[in-house]
Amino acid sequence: MIPSMAAVAMLALQPVADDAVDKRRDSDALSWWAPDYVKLQTGGYAGLAAAGVGYAAFDDVLNASLLYGYVPALAAGRTVHSLHFALHGRPVELRFGPVRWIVSYAGIGVLHTWGDRYFILLPARYAGGYYSPTGLHLTGHLGTEVDLVAGGASIFERHGLYLELCALEFYVRRYLRNPDSLGLSEVVSLAFGYRLAF
């Protein structure tokens, strides 16, 4: 699925003249219920390879996305499947002709994994509050994105590349308690991604 999506995206890359650029951020060209973008990502705790869809609201100022992430056992010691739901606010953008730069965006999310001894609800054998959920962790994100606005009759609105720092809330708490032992680089993960809006 991932290679074919990338191929479609490459074919749709068509630079356009400035006067042809739609000043709206999100046009809902397909329909209101159809997802507004797809994403491919690596890193950022979401997986070695992650793919998903998202919706844009308030003319693309608010994004909600859901990524499925996969890490093979070769890379992590065990096969990891995860889901990452994220909400991003992206209020600031600069435009340079067909290029649109979302200078910075920020957000929060929930990272979920499953498997033996990962749980959301405490198994019945434990007393209430014995453990916090092991299969859910809160995340925080800070990123930047550069989009190329697609033109012509393409159903695609923009092709974007983004760079994002993802922090696990639990790791950040550890960092704040142990400033001498832990470095900031140990509590965040960098993500690279491609976002195709339509």
């Binding site: 065990r78 995860s82 001894r117 916090s132 092991t134 720092l165 790791y171 708490r173 032992s181």
Partner: protein, 272 residues
């Protein structure tokens, strides 16, 4: 972008991995114990070790405690009662190891219940080795065992293995059990608690040392001193245990400030 790259150093694909950088740390500690000379203040027929547990995520203070233990001239080894982590995550194991690597003497770790959740069991097995292990040093047999009955239903403790390990032997004049839970743990089924009671009554156990419960406590249980180290996360304490002849003594330490402690009461007299 450059700043972000410099800040992170890598793309971490998941916090849920189970492939630690370090391997077989307990076996390596044993090699070190057998290879290295005894501490300067060690005396023949006498052995002192430091016990602490439930360190969870207090790495800065753990480094300080490690440096305090290093200043002692008589500590042969350090026993960790488990709960290095909160969520059994690889990064937590790694941070705990980093802090504990400040210790100059060999460190032996038993698995705590928090270390066993998520992918913690797999990480522990790779990083520290078997869940149950024993060794003899200076005539003292240390038996580290997995007591996490809730996380390993039907498999912990390994009663058969434990019974075999506490049999009298010519090489061991004392037997110390090191585990995460007390022998009266409410996490264990009644049959397991009964097994522990029988073990303490019938075998020649010198001391049972454990963590898990927050308070420091030193009691007798079926005639055996049972040391509950007290959660390091709350109290920043460790205990020095000294075995000399058939006797065992305890010093409770908050960093460098130590004082002798005695068993306060006989817990066997309480309800089972």
């Amino acid at each position: 972008m450059a700043a972000a790259l410099a800040a992170t150093g890598c793309l971490s694909p998941t916090p849920f991995g189970s492939d630690p950088e370090q391997r077989d740390l307990n076996a390596r500690a044993l090699q070190s114990l057998r290879r290295d000379p005894r501490p300067i203040a060690a005396v023949a027929g006498r052995l002192t070790f430091a016990a602490l547990g439930d360190t969870h995520g207090e790495y800065d203070d753990l480094v300080e405690a490690a440096e305090s233990i290093n200043r002692r001239q008589d500590v042969e080894l350090i026993a960790h009662m488990g709960d290095l982590t909160d969520f059994g995550l690889l990064q937590e194991y790694s941070w705990a190891h980093e802090a504990l690597s400040h210790l100059r003497r060999p460190l032996f770790v038993t698995i705590g219940n928090h270390d066993a959740i998520s992918s913690g069991e797999q990480i522990y097995l790779r990083m520290y080795g078997p869940l149950d292990y024993s060794f003899v040093h200076e005539g003292v047999k240390f038996v580290f065992f997995n007591s996490n009955s809730l996380e390993f239903p039907g498999a912990a403790p390994n009663e058969r293995w434990l019974k075999k390990e506490v049999r009298p032997s010519a090489e061991a004049r004392a037997i110390v059990l090191v585990t995460h839970h007390p022998p009266w743990s409410s996490d264990a089924p009644r049959s397991t608690r009964q097994f522990y009671s029988e073990l303490l009554e019938t075998a020649q156990i010198t001391a049972w040392i454990h963590g898990h419960l927050s308070e420091f406590q030193l009691v007798r249980y079926h005639g055996v001193p049972v040391l509950q180290c007290g959660t390091f996360q709350w109290w920043r304490e460790y205990t020095l245990v000294t075995l000399a002849g058939g006797a065992v003594s305890f010093q409770r330490c908050k960093y460098d400030a130590c004082h002798e402690v005695e068993p306060s009461f006989d817990r066997s007299e309480l309800a089972p």
